[in-house]
């Protein structure tokens, strides 16, 4: 019997999670609906005038994406923790950080990526001009990646706790603030016709940092939570 390499184990985990997401697509759709709803709250609260919304549209888009991502984190480790799959992962003998990376990437594929694809429609609805949509999608793509990584740490730490979802928000939001600052700024620059290279590069750097440093932290948190 051949030994499973870490990479093939990671691919297995990735494909499994995507398959599960496909089967429970209703659950996956909820954060997306939440995204649209939160974005809708702002015109209702502020003004229906697109010209006015445009001034704050980068912020609206990003806050809505941030809150929707928080909601989406619910899907990350909870079911595995509940049905014992998590313990199997811990015992599997594969480097837990690699498996955590795979799960995080699967989570982004199922939750973050659809949000990015949905974003041009939401963005247009709140006044983002057509030329800025590409930057909007790119900043959200990088940003949701960072949020998946940070959120996975929070999710792993709060497994099985009562009102864990509430606590999760409290833990993740402060860590997400730099991402929010640069992400929204990128869209704002683009709306005004300027180059958004600076913030986008910073976001990319933060994503690389997150993808490198988060998996060991997630692994440590999973071990702590699973006993």
């Amino acid at each position: 019997m051949s030994r499973t390499t870490a990479l093939s184990a990671a691919l297995l985990v990735y494909r499994r999670d995507l398959l599960l997401a496909q089967r429970h697509w209703g659950q996956v759709a909820q954060p997306l609906v939440f995204f649209v709803m939160v974005a809708t709250l702002f015109p209702l609260a502020l003004s229906p005038e697109l010209s006015e919304l445009r001034l704050v549209s980068s912020g609206i888009l990003w806050v809505a994406a941030l809150l929707a991502s928080l909601l989406g984190l619910e899907l990350l480790f909870r079911s595995e923790h509940a049905d014992g799959t998590l313990e199997q992962m811990l015992l599997a003998g594969q480097p837990l950080a690699i498996l955590a990376l795979a799960k995080g990437f699967a989570h982004w594929t199922a939750c973050g990526l659809p949000l990015v694809l949905l974003s041009p429609f939401v963005a247009t609805a709140i006044g983002v001009p057509f030329d800025a949509l590409g930057t909007a999608m790119l900043s959200l793509a990088l940003g949701t990646g960072i949020l998946s990584a940070l959120g996975a740490i929070g999710s792993a730490l709060t497994l099985g706790l009562r009102r864990g979802s509430l606590l999760l928000g409290l833990l993740v939001l402060p860590l997400a603030m730099p991402t929010l600052i640069f992400g929204a700024r990128a869209i704002d620059l683009s709306i005004h016709g300027d180059s958004a290279r600076g913030p986008l590069l910073l976001l990319a750097a933060m994503l690389i940092l997150a993808v490198t440093l988060a998996p060991p932290a997630i692994a440590a948190a999973l071990r702590i939570s699973a006993e």
């Binding site: 730490l157 009102r163 409290l170 833990l171 402060p174 730099p178 702590i224 939570s225």
Partner: protein
């Protein structure tokens, strides 16, 4: 190298007693320096050219801000030592430090905001330092909330340790991004008035207050650490002899 002294220090009964004996050596100097610093800052130091007597708020605001950050660092150091070397005492230090640090962050924020009214005209500005302090408060709140919501003490210690370390790694990023964000919208003409250039008579009471607050923190930390040791201790025999004193 003989690490015996280190292991002895990390043993709960030893640490408990040493902390108890060290406490007055921090508490009394803290009190004395506090009085000296207050006298120097409130009475001796001349009023600031621009801000008048309002600048005296620095004598409680700056120590608060300094402690808010150094206590977080202490907490993160304790968390790291506790996780890496599995020393329960280090986790106890982290647990003891958190509420103290949070209280000083609140002090820094409140005094910073009150100071803002005479200097900037509003009760709150999204100034880089205040915003950074606010986010630091959120980080403290997260660590304390996480610890409070886990019943098993060991799991609580280790989970909040991971979070504290994640927080301390993020702190420079948060700092930088908030400062950057702040410079975007402020014309360079108006910068922080909060830091008057200090004459010597204004500076020495500030240094005394910083030292006083730091010694105060050390004393409070030792006191809380003793309590945390008692809460964590499983070996009944040393407890009985200790508590019977």
């Amino acid at each position: 190298m003989n690490w015996g002294w280190f292991h002895k220090l990390a043993s709960p009964p030893h640490a408990y007693r040493i902390a108890g004996r060290l406490l007055p050596w921090f508490a009394w100097p803290a009190g004395i320096l506090l009085v000296i610093g207050l006298y120097g800052g409130l009475v001796l130091a001349p009023a600031d050219y621009l801000q008048g007597d309002a600048f005296r708020i620095v004598y409680v605001h700056a120590p608060g801000a300094w402690l808010s950050m150094s206590v977080y660092a202490t907490m993160a150091a304790g968390a790291a030592i506790g996780l890496i070397w599995r020393i329960k005492l280090a986790h106890a230090v982290a647990a003891a430090a958190a509420p103290v640090g949070a209280s000083f962050t609140v002090l820094a924020l409140a005094t910073g905001a009150i100071w803002g009214k005479p200097t900037w005209g509003t009760w709150w500005v999204w100034d880089a330092r205040l915003t950074s302090e606010l986010i630091l408060l959120f980080l403290y709140a997260g660590v304390m909330a996480l610890r409070a919501s886990i019943d098993d003490r060991d799991r609580a210690d280790r989970a909040s340790a991971v979070l504290a370390i994640v927080g301390v790694v993020n702190l420079p990023i948060i700092h930088y991004s908030v400062y950057w964000w702040n410079t975007l919208h402020q014309p360079s003409t108006l910068t922080k008035v909060a830091k008057p250039s200090m004459a010597a008579e204004m500076l020495w009471p500030l240094l005394v207050m910083l030292l006083a607050f730091t010694l105060f923190f050390a004393a409070v930390l030792l006191a809380r650490l003793r309590a945390e040791i008692l809460l964590r201790e499983r070996n009944a025999s040393w407890l009985r002899t200790e508590l019977a004193r």
